[in-house]
Amino acid sequence: MSAQTIVNRKPRKGFGIRLWPYLFSLPFVLLYLAFQFYPVIYSFFLSLHEWNGVSDKRYVGFSNYVTLFTKDPLFYKSIYNTVVIMLMSLPVLILSGMVLAYLIFNMVKGRMLFQTANFLPYITTPVAIGFIFSFMFDWQTGIINALFVKMGFLTEGIYWLQDPWLSRIIIAIMIVWRNLGYFIAIYLAGMTAISQDVYEAAKVDGSTGFHTFTRITLPLLRNISVFLIVTSIIGSLQLFDEPKLLYGGWTASQVGGPDNAALTIIWKFVNDSFMNVRFGYGATIAYALFMLIVVFSIASYKLSMGKGDQE
């Protein structure tokens, strides 16, 4: 009897199973189309228009793009600032993250303590970080100047936040301070994933400390480093909270920092779209950034893959 019923039930049940994965996927797909995909397409449509949100949209073709790439020196400056800040922070993060993770990894006691304590900045609201730093580096009331003067490094306070290069460096310091714990955690996870046998074998062959680190740990961490570099580049190109809050906060309300040295691409985007209310032009900047990110991603992906082939 059972054979008969199974045969009979199978088509119906099969249909059910075939239908369910679509039903399970549906909410995500629908919500994505509504709240992510549509805005992206609509932004492109807007980038072909001149619009201040109130009056009628005026179709201008690709002239927003032409203006952005040929007549807006501030756009190039914002790219320059973003890249400079990235170049100052990323190598420090990779290097110190790796070394600190290695030190922590070889500890018997205190491993969790150091990892957790150093991870705290990463979960803190960027708003808080911006304000704490803008207070710490304030020339008059800041604790950094006070400390340096007291210890005799300086005779009088430095205008940290009013110098273009110093301001970029401070933003880089904020980024390093905030993300170091994350880098350490990722490298630690990577080191834990490396099989202990490899280390045992190295030990048997007489490899110790530094030698083990450069010859065994480093090469095995290559994929993780690539991951960190690629995602960090993409993340840094979207830098906004830290510089904006360092300057747009309580001490001063200044767009772009001294001589626009802290104006990042996203800051310019937000400023042009929502402060100057030029939605079309803002959307154009967003798309230019998107293209930049795609190019960077493909380039770094190709670069890391190419290296892999040679080895």
Partner: protein, 267 residues
Amino acid sequence: MKVVKWTFLSLVTLVSLFPFYVMLMMSTYYSEDIFKGLPLIPSDYMLENMKTVFKTNFVQVYFNSMIVSISAAFIGVFTATLIGYAVAKYQFKLRSFLRYFIIITMMVPSQVGLIGYVIEMRTLGFGNTLLSVILIWSAWSFGAFFMVQFIKDTVPNEVIECARIDGASEPRIFFNIVIPLIKPGLATLATLVFLWSWNNYLLPLVTINNSDNYTIPLFVSTLGFVHRTDYGARMAALGLSTLPVLIIFLFGSRSFIKGITSGAVKG
């Protein structure tokens, strides 16, 4: 050697924690006293500063942030888990398409559609409401990506097959068997959304301009106490606003760090 290592690591950790310490200490000072010396030892003005903070609509704002983060975590994790389960455990025509769909959408930076999103929210009548900050998490590609991996690794096919033979319906299998098995993954993802939506500054900045609907980052960034710049009170507000994420993190730091790093190590 061991001493050197400990000293070095302790120094780095001190630098990591120093800004928190400054924040905490400053919140105990009467604002004008902060600048008389170095605010490195606690003073006695903390309660007064707290009072100043709670005289504003801080409680309302705190409540707003809680609503946003909890609903964002709920809806974001729910839709991600559903699609993650479908892609991980079913053979169907669109499976590989959906897999690529998730990966590709993960790479689109959120700012590209920001203007379109803001205008869409205004048109739908959600502009200036908390809903506009929540809905952005409703289809969260990273979450979906994470869940596909996680369900593949933790839910054995046999368990699902057994339940199916026993006659359990597909939704029942999902809710009664799969969900309990993937609790750690759900917790990790929920914490991540909570954290990211709690800290998000850009989106509320451009969608919400009514101070009753402010979330914490926005509130703190516009914090002005009438007539004077009260640094002590501001620092107290900052401290209070970082507290929930600190608590969540300290309770589950082990699984949380594991969750955050899992994508990197596997990928």
